[in-house]
């Protein structure tokens, strides 16, 4: 018994170096396989979530994403809607985009993004909209609109 344990121990220890080599050498392929087989994705909090609709302005496009709720416990705080403008090179200096947020706004709600400064302003902001953030990406501009969750799903058009 002691001898078997000893042989198994050495065998397992001998596998340590091959495991090291395999984990480093195959990580790219293994990684792709892992993603494919599990269907795992990056959390929508970072990606902005799936695109709900796209508005074509001719020279540039506006992608409005689905609303993303934070946290495992729904209604924990806020949800957010990402609006993405691309391509960066074709964007006007001032973008004025109408957003239809059916559950939160009564009138026409506009966001105004200054692509020179990243400054965001709004018109007819509903009470439930709590914050804006804008960020420049290599290929465009993203604006995140934070919405207070009030027990109902909020989606842009």
């Amino acid at each position: 018994m002691t001898k078997i344990r000893s042989i198994l121990g050495y065998l397992w220890a001998m596998l340590a170096t091959p495991i090291v080599i395999l984990s480093l050498a195959t990580s790219d392929n293994l990684g792709r396989l892992l993603v494919k087989s599990t269907g795992i994705k990056i959390a929508p909090f970072f990606t902005g979530g799936e695109i709900a609709c796209t508005i074509d302005h001719g020279t540039y496009k506006t992608h409005i994403h689905e609303s993303v709720t934070f946290g495992i416990i729904k209604n924990m705080g806020e949800s957010s809607i990402q609006v993405y403008f691309e391509p960066a090179a074709a964007l006007p200096e001032i973008i004025r985009e109408e957003l239809d947020l059916p559950d939160v706004s009564s009138g026409k709600f506009f966001i105004i993004l200054d692509t020179r400064t990243g400054n965001v302003e709004y018109e007819n902001k509903p009470d439930t909209v709590t914050d804006f953030k804008a960020s420049k990406f290599k290929n465009g501009w993203a604006v995140r609109i934070k919405i207070e969750v009030r027990n109902q799903k909020t989606e842009a058009r």
Partner: protein, 381 residues
Amino acid sequence: MENKFRFNVKTLLLALPMLLMTAFALTKGKWPQDWHHRMAFILTYAAFNAAFLLTLITGKIDRWRLILYVAVAFFFIISVLGNMNEIYGSPPLPDFEFRLNTPLCPVVIPFLLIPAALTKTVIWPGALTDSFASITFIFIMWLGASISLGRGFCSWVCFWGGADDLFSRLLPKPVIKKMPGWCKDLPFAILLVFVLLSTLWLVPVYCAWLCPVKPLAELPAERFVRDMSMWGFHLALFITIVVILPILTKKRTHCAYFCPLGVLQRSAEFINSFNLRIDAEKCVKCGTCINSCNVSAVSEELRDKGQREKTCTKCGRCIDRCPTGAIHFHVKGTGTDSNRILSKMLFIYSAFGFLAMFGGSICMDGIYRIILFITTGSFSQ
């Protein structure tokens, strides 16, 4: 001494697999195209293999490991800042939630696991594959390191550990002799609380709020005033936990008493095949091992039982220092009369292999960026 090898053909043959492994890992099978990369490769390759040869010839493990491990920590900072610059352009970085392709830090892995199982999403602003330190690359690397080295991850693989390992060696004697007892439980508490918070909020809260090593890898983000104060807080944590306390206590305070991944690495000891044994017959109870261990893994009680705690990072320092050669690497399952040289070589090959292949590629990128900076004035292409 049984521990050492003479410098001869046999020893060179013993080092040959390491020469081949590192050559392949650092070049990915292709000779570097431009002279910046060639230079970085030659320097890295020579340094790591010279250190391996010296480990064999001198019989000292920690002495050579420490030099390389600290180098990895240093070049990692240059490498990651250069890569961040390539991904996002010059600082400031975009707000945390607007980031994509951020390299994954292994320390956040414990906080990603439950949310991934529950939501099938990774709560990290990185790329899943095909990117510098992509999520799957770091995850698979961490898994491989945990299986083959257990908590040895924390002295041979993790690019953060070099900082407090170095600072814990600066003074000849500790100014603060003993850490309070509750410190040992602190990393467990941090792990539990932040796993819970990350699962509830689906955001890596530890990274955003508490991580002391964060300021080394990223500069303040867009919302300057708020982020400067947050960044300042992280920096204060870094200076306290990773610099001042390790100097004063001669302990790796971040790794022994704070880091949540370090706790997880202890559980990897159950599947890993190597541990350390103290030969009671050879031990003269001088206490050198207890005093020299910078993660408090040896106590008098454990030493007398011939064991050490699961917090042991297998750095090899106590082995190097023990005056009677009583401490040695041991393959679990084998008896007390097991072959010490074989056990040591099996461990050293996997640990050094990881350090040279993973850490080596970090050093190579860091050296490349320094050469680039000297010749072009920029750390990135």
